[in-house]
């Protein structure tokens, strides 16, 4: 699906990166623990999280992700938005909670495969 489909499915508000909404994405992950994202995630393009600090942006950048969705109406700080713009990341937020947001995307075909292989 395209990033714009995520916006529609989650009734999300785009914070920055509007110009990249046409990018295709094939998998996603949801976590508030960046340590786990760095350890277990592989090739996921979208991160759903309720954590709000600059390390969320850096973690996504390190993992070559292209979109971060903040759940539970969490809003990124101006500093985070600036970092995201530098990296071309799409940031959006949704009122939906983590479980529901992940479920809606999964049901629509955005799977969670690509978990690290030992």
């Amino acid at each position: 699906m395209k990033i714009s489909d995520i916006k529609t499915l989650l009734d999300a508000e785009v914070v920055c990166g509007e110009e990249n909404l046409g990018h295709d994405v094939y998998s996603a992950c949801g976590s508030d623990m960046m340590s786990d994202v760095l350890a277990y995630v592989k090739d996921q393009a979208v991160l759903l999280t309720g954590l709000v600090n600059s390390q969320v942006i850096r973690t996504a950048e390190m993992m070559d992700m292209v979109c971060i969705v903040f759940v539970r109406s969490k809003k990124p700080t101006p500093e985070m938005i600036e970092l995201a713009k530098e990296s071309g990341l799409v940031l959006m937020n949704t009122e939906k909670r983590m479980y529901e947001a992940c479920g809606l995307l999964y049901k629509s075909g955005l799977v969670g495969n690509g978990v690290r292989h030992e």
Partner: protein, 158 residues
């Protein structure tokens, strides 16, 4: 505050390597602010892209170095990160003058962490740092001395 960056063209006599040439980056990692942790890794990623290093190697170096940088800020009040790019490998050296690692075997166990609770609330401190650094690199060496500091050397081949 941006990390100090300098580009050094090193020859084989300086590096002790049998490679003909290498490019070296050096960063001071500010340990006073968790918010800025990771700046050096972001910059290294950009530099490696400019050098045309294969994407998978860049990804592995970035993640391993980012974990190391976070560790330096959490446990050692910062330090120095040096990245040297050779023809077929990248060597990352992270040095700090922190408290040292009392038990390396324990520290290498997934899930073991001595990070304070406030770090966990920021999304880190799950005890995955060192194991992750080892996982993403082709070689890792830890030199540590209690009360003196720690130097971690990692190699990524490409």
């Amino acid at each position: 505050m941006r990390p100090a960056v300098c580009f050094i063209k090193a020859d084989s006599s300086e590096t002790g390597s049998d490679m003909s040439d290498s490019v070296k980056f050096r960063f001071d990692v500010d340990g006073s602010n968790f918010t800025t942790a990771g700046q050096a890794s972001v910059q290294v990623k950009k530099n490696l892209r400019e050098l045309g290093i294969p994407a998978e190697a860049i990804r592995r170096v970035s993640i391993a170095m980012y974990e190391g940088e976070i560790n330096m800020v959490i446990h050692a009040h910062g330090g120095v990160a040096e990245v040297e790019v050779f023809e077929d490998k990248i060597v990352i050296v992270l040095s700090d003058t922190g408290p040292g690692i009392p038990n390396i075997e324990l520290a290498m166990k997934e899930g073991y962490s001595t990070a304070p609770d406030n770090i966990r609330s920021l999304g880190f401190g799950a005890g995955m740092g060192l194991p992750n650094m080892k996982r993403y690199t082709d070689g890792m060496k830890i030199d540590t001395e209690l009360g003196k500091g720690t130097t971690i050397t990692m190699v990524v081949n490409f």
